[in-house]
């Protein structure tokens, strides 16, 4: 991959995530292959492409949920230690995922416990990390519900009584409560109508800015990518065909596939 930001960064700062030669094959078939990039603190990286292009495979492999066939992922933890994500023992990897990462699924049903209340959904990560004070956990849950614009009185309601947009916001709160540094999002606005999408995107932008989060965002919606992502990677048939700054990729696409993708967007 020709893309390298290393020269552009001052001092001894290291990328948060460094991915080299990552591949995931399904037997003879390619899920994704030869993916390399660096992600810097506070940066939002968009991965775009049509369905079946390997976006979700890549995201799952990056977020330690799908073992890679080849390649390596290095992550710099809060304490400054650089770890090989798939070289860690499973308990440490789970701990890392739970304390430093967050994963927002496209379908809230995959990311929430639908049979327990909103408060318990937000509190689960805290309890997993050893929080044992009911009042404290509840206060934090209510605080986070406020921050994602869900009314406090819904704290004891089940997520299945929530609208799609609220479920998605709850999922985000559940991830952010432990103050992660890196979020993986798979089509966070998929299946929502446009006005709800806009509110959610607004919220995401605010939170990302406030918390200095790094985000890897998978989407097929170029408008979402333009609004949120600083940089874009365009995928086709499991390979990265183009990447660069978002505006550059969308306004001046070089690869024929990117050109097709950009020109396919309906202009309103």
């Amino acid at each position: 991959m020709p893309f390298d930001q290393n020269t552009a960064t001052p001092g001894d700062e290291r990328p948060l995530l460094r991915v080299a030669g990552l591949a995931r094959h399904y037997g003879d078939r390619i899920g994704c292959t030869d993916v390399s990039f660096d992600l810097w603190p506070g940066e939002v990286l968009g991965i775009v492409g049509e369905s079946g292009s390997g976006k979700t495979t890549l995201l799952n492999t990056l977020s330690a949920r799908l073992d890679p066939t080849a390649g390596r992922i290095e992550y710099q933890t809060r304490d400054g230690e650089v770890v090989d994500v798939y070289g860690l023992s499973e308990p440490r990897r789970r701990m890392l995922v739970r304390t430093e990462w967050g994963i927002v699924h496209q379908n809230p049903r995959d990311g929430l416990r639908m049979a327990v209340s909103a408060g318990a959904n937000i509190g689960e990560r805290l309890m997993a990390l050893g929080a044992r004070h009911y009042g404290g956990i509840r206060d934090q849950a209510i605080d986070w519900m406020g921050r994602v614009e869900i009314k406090e009185e819904r704290v004891d309601d089940l997520p299945r009584t929530f609208s799609g947009g609220m479920q998605q916001r709850l999922q985000i709160a559940r991830n952010l409560v432990t103050g992660p540094r890196l979020m993986f999002m798979d089509e966070p606005t998929g299946g929502l109508d446009v006005s709800v999408q806009a509110r959610l995107l607004d919220l995401l932008r605010t939170l990302v800015g406030e918390m200095g989060l790094s985000v890897i965002l998978v989407t097929h919606d170029l408008a979402v990518a333009r609004l949120l992502a600083h940089r874009l990677m365009v995928m086709k048939d499991g390979r990265v065909v183009e990447h660069g700054l978002t505006d550059q990729v969308l306004d001046d696409p070089h690869h024929p596939y990117t050109q097709l993708l950009v020109s396919s967007v309906l202009q309103v």
Binding site: E90, P91, R94, R113, V116, S117, G119, A120, G123, E124, R125, M127, A128, L129, R132, H133, Y134, G135, I137, R138, V155, D156
Partner: protein, 289 residues
């Protein structure tokens, strides 16, 4: 062990064949070595339906010897169907002495209670367990629950307790209340009332748990720490009653509520029949003197 001439013709001592008993004993040894860990075992078909104590009965059959004295209780009582039939079963196939006295028994098989009288080092308590997996209600996948045990990933247990407090203002789980054994494994104590949970903590007797349908054995060795899960601001509590036992007047035992007529009349009596009977006998003797 030689086949006994005294027991039922055609059956080995204590019903199970010796190979099976060895297999179960190996599982028990492993369970004792790793307190609270669920050891899979090749559970056999027993001559009673699943849910009636097939796990407990296999554990008892594997540890019982001709010199043992067996007591069987069901919800604390010695005279209920399940208790009577299992006691008779072992009297027939193992020819062991049986008793209703907690103090005289060397092996006590129980369904859903721990006797009120403290147990000793010379006794073994065998629990019948319907659902051995405490994480089952939060996580349906067995592959995942095993991994959670292995990685000590127990956050979801508190999610369940949180839900109780959020909806009911207190931890409403009143039986099968989850415990942590020896500071490591979260364990289902079988459906004993949480009233009995404190008795498990550092109990001098060996506690064995057998789940026949799920084919799991687990154990709490003598004098092992057993903590009930709770929150700092909602500590673990046991049930209390406003009544004393209507028969023996005990205020310290676990009471059953019994409806006695169709006018709403009810009485509260000890669930542990042996404990209650002993107290009544002592009171009668005192009155006579």
């Amino acid at each position: 062990m030689r086949p006994s001439d005294d027991t039922l013709a055609g059956y080995n001592f204590a019903y199970l064949d010796e190979q099976t008993k060895r297999m179960i004993r190996r599982a028990i040894l492993k369970a004792v070595a790793i307190p609270g860990y669920q050891v899979p075992f090749a559970g056999r078909e027993m001559p009673l339906p699943y849910g009636w104590g097939t796990g407990g009965i296999q554990v008892t059959a594997s540890i019982i010897g001709p010199d043992d004295t067996l007591k069987v209780i069901d919800q604390g009582a010695d005279d209920t169907t399940n208790a009577v039939s299992i006691r008779r079963f072992f009297a027939t196939v193992a020819d062991v002495a049986t008793t209703e006295k907690t103090t005289e028994a060397t092996v006590i098989q129980t369904r859903h209670r721990i006797p009120e009288k403290p147990l000793t080092e010379d006794q073994i308590l065998v629990y019948q367990v319907p659902i051995p997996e405490p994480l089952r209600w939060m996580e349906a996948r067995e592959t995942e629950t095993r991994k959670m045990h292995a990685l000590e990933d127990y956050g979801v247990m508190h999610v369940k307790l949180y839900e109780d407090i959020a909806h009911l203002g207190r931890i409403a789980t009143s039986y099968d209340y989850p415990v942590k054994v020896n500071g490591r494994y979260v364990m289902a104590p079988s459906p004993i009332p949480k009233f009995d949970n404190p008795k498990m903590d550092r109990m001098p007797a060996l506690q064995l748990f057998g789940a026949g349908r799920e084919k799991r054995i687990y154990a709490v060795p003598p004098y092992t720490r057993v903590d009930s899960l709770d929150f700092e601001d909602h500590p673990f509590e046991v049930q209390t009653w406003d009544h004393a036992c209507a028969l023996c007047g005990s205020t310290e035992s676990y009471l059953d509520e019994v409806v006695i007529d169709d006018q709403g009349g009810r009485m509260y009596v000890c669930s542990d029949t042996d404990f209650c009977g002993d107290r009544q006998a002592a009171q009668a003797q005192e009155a006579a003197e």
